[in-house]
């Protein structure tokens, strides 16, 4: 049950290795990894992620507590990076484990929806065409409604 808001890169496989080593009794493990994308039509140089220290951790712990109250989870892990990230680097990792696959899937899905639009992170993209803040998408607000 770990939350890490960090600047330094993380390895999906190392994180999953320690997670699964600590979760031998779970029947189902779901992981979501978000990666910095670069579109061929507008190659990204890098991404800058700003966040609100203090509120970020608080908010994420609140989502986790809600997830733990709603689903039967054995364990969960959230890592979210900030700072400068290059294309191909991992931004976010959510891992959930449960006795049953439905709980593990839904909790990971829920946590990602909340991280997307309710955790205080802001992404800025730097590409050849210019510099711009990523705009929030209406589809992300619609996604949140599924959990009401």
């Amino acid at each position: 049950m770990r939350v890490s808001i960090q600047q330094k890169p993380f390895s999906l496989t190392n994180e999953l290795e320690s997670f699964t080593a600590a979760n031998t009794a779970a029947g189902a493990v779901v992981s979501f990894t978000g990666i910095v994308r670069s579109e061929p039509e507008n190659p990204l140089e890098y991404m800058l992620i700003e966040h609100y220290p203090g509120m970020t951790e608080k908010t994420i712990i609140k989502f986790m507590e809600k997830a733990a109250a709603r689903w039967n989870l054995k364990d969960y892990l959230i890592i979210h990076r900030f700072g400068k990230l290059n294309p191909g680097e991992n931004i976010v990792l959510v891992v959930t484990s449960s006795k049953h696959r439905r709980d593990a899937f839904d909790a990971a899905d829920y946590l990602m929806d909340y991280l997307k639009s309710r955790a205080p992170f802001w992404k800025k993209e730097v590409s050849e065409k210019g510099v711009g803040w990523v705009e929030s998408k209406p589809s992300d607000e619609i996604a949140l409604k599924r959990w009401k």
Binding site: Y52, M55, V92, L115, S117, A119, P120, W122, K123, S136
Partner: protein, 82 residues
């Protein structure tokens, strides 16, 4: 005395990320009106209230939230994490 934080393009338009101000504003909206008198950057930053989010003591609020007992108020655009 209240600490006011700015993030993302709101921070960029205002030109700094934090300040401590003296205010009698009771609601978030009153504070925004006050801040808008502080200069063009502020005016530009708060020109579209519909895209401004606010947190009072690190909890999400809205334009009508009470800030009379707040220690820390943060303004930012919709979040884009994940």
């Amino acid at each position: 005395m209240v600490k006011v934080l700015y993030f993302s393009w709101i921070r960029e338009r205002i030109g700094h990320s934090m300040e401590t101000i003296e205010t009698d504003a009771k609601k978030v909206n009153d504070l925004i009106q006050e801040l808008k008198t502080k200069g063009d950057g502020y005016n530009f930053a708060f020109s579209k209230p519909s895209v401004i989010c606010v947190a009072i003591d690190q909890e999400l609020g809205d334009m009508n939230s009470d800030i009379s007992k707040a220690n820390e108020i943060a303004f930012f655009p919709p979040m884009t994490g994940g």
